[in-house]
């Protein structure tokens, strides 16, 4: 029997598949899935098509409801989705951002090589584990007041740098310079603040990690050179975390509030988790002001962790910052809604671009990317699973034209957490990683099974699709040597 999706999807080319609007009554635009034919069966089984179609119901959605090749089933919106709505006539949806507002990735380069780091890998992993609080319900080392939390919401990364956690250059090398404008602490509940205060400066759990990696392959030496990546075997550090309980509560609060707005504005939706409000409504503006606060908290969080990472390296290797390097290459948000200007049908329009498990991928020459990357395009950081590899890619003109300047964000899960637990034991995962030369330290060994390579798609397949479709191009492959998990 032919795969059921064959009757639904319209093939545009080998990597673009359209879900026509007649697939489901209520879709106002078609869906568009970036995937290889081999990936579609799994995406279908996952019911991710249905979710892409549901997002096409959102009032004011422009172009397509899009899915990146790492698409997988989420609650409401699929993970790996991009949806842009008109700022004048469209809606904003907290579910289109997700609970972990500004979950994102940061990459630091070092002047060290694998040969220098390997002999001390256990020490550096232990020191990082010790210096960066992680795990479920972990509490940070920072004691911020409510007033300081308000400042963090408004200023983002800059707050941390002013407190001595990092360099001014870190801020420059961060999407939005580590601060989305328009944050308003009054639009964030007391509950969110209570969850946020103790968790600032923590890695968290689940798929979040801190990883010491080495450069495995360089595909474009010139572009890599611009990022300070000169040779294979060079050591880098990757940080993947978000806004912790603070962002989760902001999202929880606004899904409830916007659930009421849906009724007030007479919006018809196929799933309550898509709750939304017009961007220009008081409810929509309040969400964006609260979301910006949570996004800025997340950047502050990654900034603090960056500082402690540098401290750990200085201690273990007995070298100065200057000798070590540890400069920030870039920091991207992959759960976010942004007000951006894009060309739609030949005219410039202001859009609210939701990226839920998708990364901004702006092209060379774009004024919103740091000066240093103006000639090569925006760095895109795409973590894979802890046993294989991750990628650094760059944004392209095609992404700007087709995907509102967006590409994939990671590997995407292939197995549920409990299926992974049934199949693997945490201790075996540690052993298998050790055999591959990867040292792992985790707060909960049993939950490591959930994060094993077997539970994830191969990120190289995802990255290859984005490259062949032209929405980002790979520059560097990174291979893990030391991993810290919550």
């Amino acid at each position: 029997m032919a795969a059921p999706w064959r009757e639904i999807l319209k093939k545009i080319d080998d990597y673009r598949w359209e879900i026509p609007t007649d697939y489901k009554a209520g879709m106002t635009v078609p869906g568009l899935i970036y995937a290889s034919e081999a990936m579609l069966g799994k995406i279908w089984e996952d019911k991710a098509f249905e979710q892409v179609a549901n997002v096409a119901f959102l009032p004011g959605i422009v172009g397509h409801s899009m899915a990146m090749p790492d698409i997988h089933w989420g609650y409401g919106f699929a993970i790996g989705g991009v949806a842009a709505t008109g700022v004048e006539d469209g809606v904003v949806s907290p579910g289109g951002v997700g609970f972990d507002i500004n979950c994102g990735v940061r990459l630091l380069r070092t002047n060290m090589t694998e040969e220098e780091v390997r002999p001390k890998i256990n020490q550096i992993v232990n020191e990082l584990y010790f210096n960066v609080p992680s795990g479920v319900g972990s509490k940070g080392k920072l004691k911020v007041s409510e007033k300081e939390l308000d400042e963090i919401m408004v200023n983002g990364s800059r707050w941390a740098v002013e407190k001595g956690f990092g360099d001014a250059e870190d801020v420059t090398a961060t999407e939005e310079s580590g601060c989305i404008k328009g944050a308003n602490p009054d639009k964030v509940s007391a509950k969110a603040k209570q969850r946020g205060i103790p968790q600032l400066g923590t890695l968290g759990s689940g798929n979040h990690f801190l990883e010491v990696s080495v450069v495995g392959e360089i595909y474009d030496p010139d572009a890599a050179g611009v990022m300070g990546i000169i040779e294979t075997g060079q050591v880098v550090v990757m940080i993947h975390t978000g806004s912790r309980g603070f962002g989760h509560q902001v999202c929880t609060d606004y899904v409830a509030l916007l659930g009421n707005a849906v009724k007030k504005y007479g919006i018809s939706l196929p799933d309550r988790q898509l709750a939304c409000a017009p961007v220009q409504s008081p409810e929509g503006k309040d969400y964006l002001a609260g979301m910006a606060g949570a996004a800025n908290y997340a950047w502050t969080n990654r900034q603090c962790i960056t500082h402690w990472t540098r401290e750990a390296f200085m201690k273990v290797f007995g070298k100065s910052r200057k000798e070590l390097g540890l400069e920030q290459i870039y920091d991207v948000a992959h759960n976010i809604a942004k007000i951006e200007e894009h060309a739609v049908g030949g005219a410039k329009r202001l859009l609210c671009v939701h990226r839920k498990g998708a990364t901004r991928a702006f092209p060379p020459g774009n004024p919103d990317i740091p000066q240093a990357y103006r000639d090569i395009g925006q760095p895109v950081l795409i973590p894979g699973d802890m046993g294989r590899y991750s990628y650094v890619a760059l944004g392209t003109d095609t992404a700007m034209k087709e995907t509102f300047g967006s590409t994939c964000h990671g590997a995407g899960r292939m197995q549920s957490r409990s299926a992974a637990r049934r199949m693997l034991k945490g201790a075996d995962v540690v052993r298998v990683l050790a055999e591959k030369g990867i040292t792992v330290k985790a707060g909960s060994i049993s939950s490591l099974a959930e994060e094993a390579s077997e539970a994830y798609k191969d990120v190289s397949e995802v990255v290859d699709v984005t490259e062949r479709a032209g929405i980002s191009r790979k520059v560097v492959k990174l291979v893990p040597v030391g991993v810290i998990k919550g």
Binding site: F99, G137, G245, V255, R417
Partner: protein, 143 residues
């Protein structure tokens, strides 16, 4: 004695990215309480929790689905902020838009509790509340 009729209090739903529960009850109070037990069973072993402290929860919302989601989100909040895990949920009042409960548990003790999963939130996705011979509620979580 509805309890004796029930095979189980809850079952765990397995989804690729997230996880959910279906909870049952002879009445809706019991189904809501079992939903909470199901959720805490994802966080830690229910048998490892002592009932040494209690908290009171009172909620008023616009509809029944919101009540179920906000009930569970309130418990996630208590876990996150007060570091409490709970195992017994005495719901003294439950209407379609309000709930009053006294819940029993203890502070997380890492020597005693293995924290298996952090839960970000309960969601409305595929949420269902069914009344039949057995009351049945289904909730998915973002974890």
């Amino acid at each position: 004695m509805y309890y004796a009729l029930m095979d189980k209090e809850f079952t765990i739903l397995d989804h690729t990215a997230d996880v959910g529960i279906i909870a049952y009850g002879g009445d809706m109070k019991e189904a809501f309480a079992n939903a909470a037990r199901g959720m805490f069973s994802l966080i830690t072993d229910l048998d490892s929790i002592e009932e040494s402290e209690y908290r009171d929860v009172e909620l008023t919302v616009s509809d029944e689905e919101s009540l179920l989601v906000e009930w569970l989100n309130e418990l996630i909040y208590l876990f996150d902020v007060e570091n409490m895990v709970f195992r017994r949920f005495n719901i003294s009042r439950l209407t379609r838009t309000s709930l009053k409960a006294r819940i029993y548990g203890q502070k997380v003790d890492t020597a005693r509790h293995e924290i298996k999963t952090g839960i970000k939130a309960a969601t409305y996705h595929m949420l269902s509340i069914e009344r039949d011979d057995v009351n049945r509620v289904q909730v998915l979580f973002d974890i």
